[in-house]
Amino acid sequence: MTTAANETEMTLVQAVTDALACEMRLDDRVIILGEDVGLNGGVFRATEGLQAEFGADRVVDSPLAESGIIGSSIGLAMNGMRPVPELQFEGFMGPAYDQLCSHAARFRTRTRGRFTVPMTVRVPHGGGIHAPELHSDAPEAIYAHQPGLKVVMPATPYDAKGLLIASIRDPDPVIFFEPKRIYRAFREAVPNEAYTLPIGKARVVTEGTDLTVVAWGAMVVEAAKAAEQSKASIELIDLRTISPLDEDTILASVEKTGRCVVCQEAPLTLGLASEISSLVTERCFLHLEAPVQRVAGFDTIMPYYKLEMEYLPGPDRINAAIDETLRY
């Protein structure tokens, strides 16, 4: 594969770093804060080299306190800055939940527009990297259920850069989940300059006619493997944004295929897949040849890593769901 002069082959995590660097060069208001984001470049190296380029006043190693990171970012955002706080792992969002849901999500409506919170919270997301407890969860539905927040999750390097820059420029708070399992899974050509992709717009990864598979984050890669192995013609949709949901892309696809399987890492019950299932059932009822099927994690605590692959849906489980839905 050749790369054009204005593009660079990079991994998803490198695309995140590149997006941050591009936007920091363009906008003095952008400030990064979090645990280990400075000299150390973040535990996943997502902020590698940024403190050297932009200085310790703009790439700030903060005290180890998630609520403090988000609460002070809210104040920064309310007062003209564009903070991009990092929370080290999704399992550590708990201490910041109150600031995210009681304040970040509410300031615009609470003050009828006097104060807004243009903040992008970067959070590595999901399992599959042999990490300790609370380093492998999938809590996106919790934050998608909170009015006032936006929730974004890319699945490719190109999308990661465009969506992260769009999130930083967005006038409202965005939770930007980064699928850590595919941080370095593959490279693709990414434009060197800053660009944005629309928040709230899904991507049709492969077109197909027999069945629609909806996935997001690292599950897009698993679903693509499943689709490749399947004999059926699969249309794969990568949501890219969890909230607001791109209903039109999902509905147009299922109207065409008549069948739908939704894949998520999170527990089966009350997850985003359930919402998509309701949506498709209600809006595509007369087009459906089979019930919408969800492929998910179990309704258990995510096990320690010896058994994490038992928990996470992979191509086999996704294909079993595809086959069942096609046979129905």
């Binding site: 700030v60 104040g75 615009r108």
Partner: protein
């Protein structure tokens, strides 16, 4: 020597005009100009009147739950006197005197407690945050607001208020730690009013003072008589100057007392000793200042009567402004969910339906 002293400290207590009317001329010199004091007294009279009327509005069903400020007028007013227009007040809900002095229209506070978010639409140019309902979370916003001023090199600072109970919340500690570690221009003021609803301050901390809460974060800590406008103004001015000079935060404990119930939904007689209330009524900050001003010839009975009359008129006007504002549009609460309303929310707003099929009448036809 195997054991040495690793750290030693002490907490100063500042009092200038004490409850017996004794004024410390050295400390009190040039703190507040004598020319300004009559306007301050008028403001205090008005705020006390509004506070007492707000209670009656709730009792007569014209307003929702309201937390009275009576007895705690001085700490936030001192902050407002010590700061500039560009500085921030990041308050809890017993800081009306300071907020109004800083430029917040009193109608905003009434509207808030009348269940109308438009009361939180603080006018542009007034740097204050709305009433913070969840306890002890707003100090982190003050840290961030001050941080932004530092990043923008404006020289502006943030003063944040919270109660003794709020110092038990984790966010207080995170805010103090962020502000001190990152040298942010913030002033922390704890209004220790003795009670967190029914729980006495002794349960919030086994420490002798709340001021010492700040010591472990590496910031200067001071305690002051919260019912003494002069003492509060002195400690505020010192803390504001320190913050503005880039020297970081200061922790102030204002020792005061909640002379009324926690809110109109509370009945303090269930848990509070009548004798304690009597003791503190004798320390009421308003009569204390008034007596001193009268003795100094800075205030007299006729001025007081005039202030009472103009205060009454102003209170009546503010209540009528708050009550007569046109009702919000039925779907007004959609308007500020996001800068751009997503399609699904527009559909809910326009159809006024949350039945998932009912939002698509064409599908049901």
């Amino acid at each position: 020597m195997p054991i040495t002293t690793a750290y030693e400290t002490r907490i100063d207590h500042v009092s200038i005009l004490d409850e017996h009317g004794v004024f410390d001329e050295t400390l009190g010199q040039d703190l507040i100009s004598e020319d300004q004091l009559p306007a301050i007294m008028e403001h205090l009279v008005f705020c006390r009147q509004l506070d007492e009327i707000a209670f009656k509005l709730q009792r007569s069903g014209r307003m929702g739950t309201y937390p009275q400020n009576t007895g705690q007028e001085m700490p936030s007013l001192a902050a407002a006197l010590a700061i500039e227009k560009a500085d921030w007040l990041v308050t809890c809900y017993r800081e009306n005197t300071g907020l109004f002095w800083h430029g917040l229209p009193p109608e905003c506070i009434l509207l808030h407690w009348m269940g109308d978010e438009r009361g939180n639409h603080i006018p542009a140019g007034v740097n204050a945050t709305p009433i913070a309902i969840p306890i002890g979370t707003q100090m982190l916003h003050a840290a961030g607001l001050g941080w932004a001023e530092k990043a923008k090199k404006t020289g502006a600072i943030a003063v944040t208020f919270f109660g003794d109970g709020a110092t038990s919340e984790g966010d207080f500690h995170e805010a103090a730690n962020f502000a001190a570690s990152l040298k942010l221009p913030v002033v922390f003021c704890c209004q220790n009013n003795g009670w967190a609803i029914s729980v006495p301050s002794s349960v919030q901390s086994a420490g002798e003072t709340f001021a010492q809460r700040g010591i472990s974060y590496g910031m200067p800590c001071v305690r002051a008589d919260g019912n003494d406008l002069f003492a509060m103004t002195k400690v505020m001015k010192d803390a504001v100057a320190r913050a503005r000079a880039g020297e970081g935060p200061t922790f102030i404990e204002a020792v005061t007392y909640r002379l009324r119930d926690h809110t109109t939904a509370d009945d303090a007689r269930r848990y509070r000793d009548a004798g304690e209330l009597e003791t503190w009524e004798a320390r009421d900050p308003l009569p204390r200042l008034r007596r001193w001003m009268e003795a100094k010839g800075l205030w007299d009975k006729s001025q007081h009567e005039k202030a009472m009359k103009s205060g009454e008129e102003r209170v009546a006007e503010i209540i009528s402004n708050a009550e007569e504002i046109a009702a919000p549009d039925r779907s007004e609460f959609f308007d500020h969910m996001y800068a751009d309303l997503p399609a699904s929310l527009k559909r809910q707003r326009d159809s006024k339906r949350t039945t998932s099929l009912g939002q698509f009448p064409e599908d049901l036809a």
